[in-house]
Amino acid sequence: MRFFEDIVIGQRREVGSFTFTADAIKKFAAEFDPQRFHLDEEEGRKSLFGGLAASGWHVGSVCMKLLVADGQRQAREAAARGEKIAIWGPSPGFRELRWIKPVLAGDTISFASEVESRRISEKRPEWGIVQARQTGTNQRGELVYSLLATAFVPRRNPNS
């Protein structure tokens, strides 16, 4: 993971891709979002989605999963170079989450994150606050998911 000082507005990073299988869609839906179009192929076809569709919360959770894996990859690389590792803080929330198109069984979604703003926290000056637009694009190149996320990012030298 990077420190606040390393983060530049406009920086974009591909964080990985994930194939939503019918089994994974149904398993998540059965636990958290058992609406009929997330559980059954035929019900999905009859719905506005036109097929068995992943819960939007499943899509968001998978994006988080890939972001964390990417952060851990960056941390390992930094450690291998002998650099200090930044441990990111929690997120105070997000805005503008858009489920733009359905994610259907078999779709592979590639996620990316692009920095939109950065500032030092007034209440916690040892932390920076970074806003990034996270997006998901399917195998046909269609944007299916978008979110403006906020996170606390540690400063390398908080006293400088």
Partner: protein, 155 residues
Amino acid sequence: MTLSFEDFPPGRFGTFGPRRVTREEVLAFAAEFDPQPMHLDEEAASRSMLKGLSASGWHLCSIMMRMMFDGFIGRTASLGSPGVNELRWLAPLRPGDDITLDVDVAEARVSKSRPDTGIVTFRGVVRNAAGQQLCEMVSPIIVRRRADPAAGQAG
């Protein structure tokens, strides 16, 4: 009875829960979707900004979805949601918490592009057993309107 657009006038809709969130499910969700130390490891979590083990925010969102499903969406003519306008994580969800969900209808309007449906914008607030707000979400859901009997006769 299935709930239609007309059943969601602006104002308080209801309170749902309480729902116990166990340590096992917090760890299981974090392991699969959000394996940051603050969600998985007591020792690392105690040193984090959240000062103790807490559930992933996406887990809290997913539980809120389930509470909404059990509370009313499961018997609503819902066609899905286009997104979430705003979501704020206000305080950590701790393992063992009993959470409740207050749901208000912030806005309800007929869809211009699909006049047989309406867009109901909900505001949901999750609280723990101590009454502390953990999360606030504002999100629209597309809901079918009740069939118009006059239109039915005309057709």
